[in-house]
């Protein structure tokens, strides 16, 4: 059996899950605790990839990533490589469409935090950043776990956006969800079955681990 789609999917899901907090945590923190003009706009803008059909998003990204668009052209200048239909492109796309799935649960758990804890932190002299790392984060592990479940699951299963910006290039952008689709279409049921049979238990184990973390935290 061809392992590359499974490996690609795993790589994509892990990369996304690891990279996304860098963007999502500060955004969630801002949305939960700060008041600033244009907040509801930012909020809606971040949530957009969630409500947009993957094909619409994929279309938008396809245009942006193309060699004629600014992003695609700059990328080609910087890295000497075509962006669209590359693995980098699907990672980027995955980060973008997963952003709301990471921000929303994080934000919800930040907002649910007992406000007295933040009051305590400021009484004890902590700055907002210090309070974030020493008080908010450790008390919101549940929310973070929920966020990673969603993100991991999503990047493992995403199909529409990746099909649009990645095409289906073997070894580069043909992730498991696409490979399974094609295998089913080509009536190679045994291949489809084998890949699913591997994907499902692996996802399951990841899910169980995250659930365990989640429960320990409660």
């Amino acid at each position: 059996m061809d392992w590359s789609p499974l490996l690609l999917s795993a790589k994509l899901a892990l990369l996304t899950t690891v990279l996304i907090p860098v963007a999502a945590a500060p955004l969630a923190y801002m949305l939960a605790f700060f008041r600033f003009p244009g907040k509801s706009l930012l909020d809606a803008f971040i949530t957009l990839p969630m409500v947009l059909p993957p094909t619409v998003l994929g279309f938008g990204l396809l245009v942006c990533f193309g060699p004629n668009a600014f992003l695609g052209a700059s990328w080609e200048q910087l890295f000497g490589q075509r962006l669209v239909f590359s693995f980098s492109a699907i990672v980027l796309a995955s980060l973008i469409f997963n952003l709301p799935f990471a921000v929303q649960p994080m934000r919800a758990s930040f907002e649910k935090l007992d406000s007295r804890l933040l009051e305590s932190a400021s009484i004890l002299g902590l700055s907002r950043t210090a309070a974030f790392f020493r008080v908010v984060l450790p008390n919101c592990l549940g929310g973070l776990a929920a966020a990673s479940i969603l993100v991991f699951a999503h990047s493992l299963g995403e199909f529409g956006v990746i099909l649009m910006v990645g095409g289906s290039i073997p070894g580069e952008t043909k992730v498991a969800s696409i490979a399974i689709f094609e295998a089913v279409e080509a009536l190679r049921y045994d291949d489809a079955f084998r890949m699913s049979a591997l994907l499902v238990p692996v996802s399951f184990v990841v899910l169980l681990i995250i659930n365990r973390i989640n429960q320990r935290d409660q």
Partner: protein
């Protein structure tokens, strides 16, 4: 991989046999991706890194050539559509009757815009003047492979499939009727100018003209 071929979905059964032979002869590793001709064309226009494009029509390779995106196209196969079904009742007699049989609640056809085989099916139905009557029964697959999937799982009662799929293992499990009104599907191929592996691409195109390939194509009903 040493070569990346973008092929129209209908040619997939034949390609599955062609690739191992080519790999054995040249020692090159070939990857292939397939979907409808229109989708592949869209991806090529947007910069997809394919080497060879095996289309299911002549129009799109010609267009690529006109836009300076590929070398001169050549015809590599002529295919046909058939009406395929799991239900033996539907294979008795004329295809227009079969398509309008009471058992044929849902009939699958490929996207008429992107898939030349879907287009051919539409043309045939229009010629037979049953296109309008068929509308309520039609179910659309994204490419000819999905059409066969719909038909072979029984989700659709019949499907306008590529003749080549009749010769597959699954295809043997059902029956089919021919569609005389349907035009031959003339399929052209070309090497892309942006091909990352142009040498291997040239070798592959050369290989397509060999008797071995001709034998495989004949086996799958291509002319």
């Amino acid at each position: 991989a040493d070569l990346l071929v973008a092929q129209a979905a209908n040619f997939m059964p034949a390609m599955k046999e062609i690739i191992p032979v080519f790999e054995q002869q040249t020692g090159l590793e070939v990857d292939a991706t397939y979907t409808s001709t229109g989708k592949l064309y869209g991806q090529i226009v947007n910069g997809a890194p394919f080497d060879v494009f095996l289309a299911a029509d002549q129009r799109r390779p010609d267009k690529l050539f006109a836009d300076g995106l590929c070398s001169e196209p050549f015809v590599y196969a002529k295919g046909q559509i058939v009406l395929w079904s799991l239900n033996p009742q539907l294979c008795k007699g004329d295809w227009t009757k079969a398509a309008q049989h009471t058992d044929a609640v849902k009939v699958a056809i490929a996207n008429v815009e992107n898939a030349p085989y879907g287009n051919a099916a539409m043309v045939a139905m229009q010629k037979a003047e049953i296109w309008d009557a068929m509308q309520s029964r039609l179910v659309f697959g994204q490419n000819i492979a999905q059409v066969f999937q719909y038909a072979s799982t029984g989700a659709a009662d019949a499907g306008f499939c590529a003749y080549s799929s009749v010769f597959t293992e699954q295809g043997q499990k059902g029956c089919f009727v021919e569609i005389p009104q349907a035009p031959d599907v003339i399929q052209a191929a070309c090497i892309l100018n942006s091909a990352p592996h142009s040498e291997a691409a040239a070798k592959f195109v050369e290989f397509l003209a060999t008797p071995e390939v001709a034998a495989i194509k004949a086996k799958y009903g291509y002319k």
